[in-house]
């Protein structure tokens, strides 16, 4: 006897809605890890989801949806990157591969959800020295540019960029200790 859930899972639109809702946060973070321009992030998000919908028949339901979605996103990113490089951060095959690897760790549904994984970030931010925490707050919480953040903290632009770089490195190490992100590959 078929259950309501079985019926729901046979309906491709219902399945797609569930998959979109479950993977939307991960996809946004994935795109933001390579794309600077927020408008381009939005466009790529919608384009990725629409491509996924059109190719849903190609998706092997026995496999996780997240990596398949990121694969579509990666192809769209590369196509867009060739047209306007200034919208993007550093992109190359090894970088894409490494970002995939890190996202797999964060998106490991057998252990926890993506948002639960990045919830560890809060604990890690608390462990930062005050100077680095202030730099992170100025740049990400207050959404200041490096110049504004430098003005706000009364330090040079070079110093704020260095602090941000150090803070991100410490946060990475903290997340690696918590086993939500991969360690060194070499």
């Amino acid at each position: 006897m078929s259950t309501k859930k079985d019926h729901l899972l046979r309906d491709p639109q219902a399945v797609f809605e569930i998959l979109v809702q479950e993977n939307a946060d991960m996809l946004m973070a994935y795109l933001r890890s390579m794309v600077r321009d927020p408008g381009a992030v939005d466009d790529l998000f919608q384009e990725t989801m629409m491509t996924a919908w059109r190719r849903l028949d190609d998706f092997d339901r026995s496999r996780p949806f997240g990596p398949w979605l990121r694969g579509i996103g990666a192809r769209l990113i590369m196509a867009h990157y060739r047209k306007c490089k200034h919208d993007f951060m550093l992109i190359s095959e090894p970088i894409l591969e490494r970002i995939h690897q890190q996202m797999d760790g964060l998106d490991n549904k057998t252990q926890t959800s993506f948002n639960d994984s990045i919830g560890h970030l809060r604990d890690c931010i608390k462990t930062l020295p005050t100077k680095l925490e202030d730099a992170i707050s100025a740049r990400y919480l207050n959404e200041h540019s490096p110049l504004q953040a430098a003005d706000h903290l009364g330090i040079s632009q070079e110093a704020i960029k260095k602090r941000l770089q150090r803070a991100r490195m410490q946060l990475l190490k903290c997340l690696q200790r918590k086993r939500v992100m991969a360690g060194e590959t070499t």
Binding site: Q13, E17, I18, V20, Q21, E22, A24, D25, M28, A29, L31, R32, S33, M34, G39, D42, F45, Q46, M49, M50, W53, H86, F88, M89, L90, I91, S92, P94, I95, R98, I99, Q102, M103, I118, L121, R122, P129, I136, R139, Y140, E143, P146, I155, E158, A159, K161, K162, R163, L164, Q165, R166, R168, M169, L171, L172, L175, M181, E184, T185, T186
Partner: protein, 412 residues
């Protein structure tokens, strides 16, 4: 040995190793060793997680909605016509195809608008049955707008009463509302006053002159939209991944070009009761593409309030003296520059002479605490003096200006 934290000068900044802040010309993957590429990728991932953690979470939801709206548009417009048609039959075939498309189009519009309108009607009936509702109203403006990019308002509604709480563009808490008879506002200094002027928020909540109807109902919103919207109904949408309700999703685009009302309206309503759960109104400015103005109403669970909650006295700020006379005393004693507990003519300011004549009962040329207590606080609002002559002018008591009015539904 003391393990000292590294200083900024210990590690000089190398822009060529910073993928986040470097310009595209300053950094190339070809210049980096394999391990440095991994480090750059890790920096980019952490940067994205921080943006996601601190940033606007509504961006995700907004993108999901936009995706489904596009998919719906796709479904409506996709009509691939394949195959080659010989030149001989080209004219006849295209005429038949055009006629068929028109017939299909009319059928589709008629049948897609019919359930849409039924949903709206169900929402209207359901909304009229509900007395108490609470919403979070988010107003998103372009970054250059004086009211700031985002203002959030907590709204409690009961029939023709409302209470709205927000932080204004100066960072001060503001509470305002309507008790069913008069609009009121609690100023940042904790003083509650009735007001005669309309606030921008009321352009969204109320009809121009009639406050006796329940506002923020789907009926009220749609009555302002007129008939100039193309409505589409999408069968079901969840508002979050753990949402147990599949809401009926209605999207409407203004079809009258330069007419009135928002350019786009979206509504999620309950599949059984038809009650509006979320409403998004959006205006596009052709002069500023990519910077829409948006108002979002999101219904929230909140306890039912008493009638007294909709009166201004229930909202004077915590820590501010509730007794208006004592508040006046405290306010006036701030002018006691020599701290002797008495107010002289000089200390009272421009209205000092009048106050002294009226309240200096022992005629010693000074107002003491007991005499100051006799001074009534000002009452402002319809039917009351706009400014009590017994209060000295003081810029610190001026009404804190609220964000400029929203684009109202009547805007062109």
């Amino acid at each position: 040995m003391i393990n000292q934290e590294p200083t900024d000068s210990d590690m000089p900044y190398s822009p060529e190793k910073d993928p986040i802040e470097a310009t595209d010309s300053a950094l190339s993957p070809d210049d980096l060793a394999p391990q440095e590429l991994d480090q750059a990728a890790d920096q980019q991932v952490i940067h994205a997680l921080l943006q996601h953690w601190y940033g606007d979470r509504t961006a995700v939801r907004r993108n999901i909605q936009a995706t489904f709206a596009k998919l719906q548009d796709d479904a409506m417009t996709a009509a691939p016509i394949a195959g080659r048609i010989s030149s001989r039959w080209y004219f006849l075939s295209s005429s038949i195809a055009a006629a068929l498309l028109i017939i299909c189009g009319v059928w589709f519009v008629t049948n897609s608008n019919r359930p849409a309108m039924a949903t709206v009607e169900a929402a209207l009936r359901a909304d009229q049955q509900i007395l108490d509702r609470s919403y979070v109203m988010t107003m998103e403006f372009p970054a250059t707008h004086p009211a700031g990019p985002v203002t959030r308002v907590h709204l409690d509604l009961r029939e023709n009463k409302y209470v709205a709480r927000l932080i204004n563009h100066r960072g001060h808490p503001v509470v305002m509302g309507h008790n069913g008879e008069q609009p009121w506002i609690v100023l940042p200094d904790g003083q509650a006053v009735f007001r005669s002027h309309r606030m921008g928020i009321e352009d969204l909540l109320m009809e121009d002159s009639d406050v006796s109807i329940p506002f923020l109902t789907v009926e009220n919103v749609l009555s302002r939209l007129g008939d100039n919207y193309e409505l589409s109904l999408i069968s079901s949408q969840r508002l979050s991944s753990d949402d147990r309700v599949s809401w009926k999703y209605l999207v409407g685009y203004r079809s009258d070009g330069a007419g009135t009302g928002p350019d786009r309206i979206e509504m999620w309503s309950h599949p059984d009761t038809g009650t509006a759960q979320k409403l998004i109104l959006q205006w596009y400015d052709s002069a500023k593409p990519g910077q829409p103005q948006k108002v979002i109403f999101q219904r929230i669970d909140a306890s039912v309030q008493t009638d007294a909650y909709y009166e201004p006295d229930a909202h004077t700020h915590e820590g501010v003296e509730r007794n208006p006379r004592r508040r006046t005393t405290q306010h006036l004693m701030k002018r006691d520059s020599n701290q002797d507990g008495l107010l002289s003519l000089d200390e009272l300011g421009p209205n000092g002479a009048r106050l002294m004549t009226k309240f200096d009962s022992n005629e010693d040329g000074l107002l003491d605490a007991s005499e100051i207590k006799q001074i009534q606080p000002p009452l402002r609002g319809p039917g009351r003096p706009e400014h009590s002559e017994d209060m000295p002018d003081d810029p610190s008591t001026s009404t804190e200006p609220l964000p400029p009015p929203l684009n109202s539904f009547e805007q062109e």
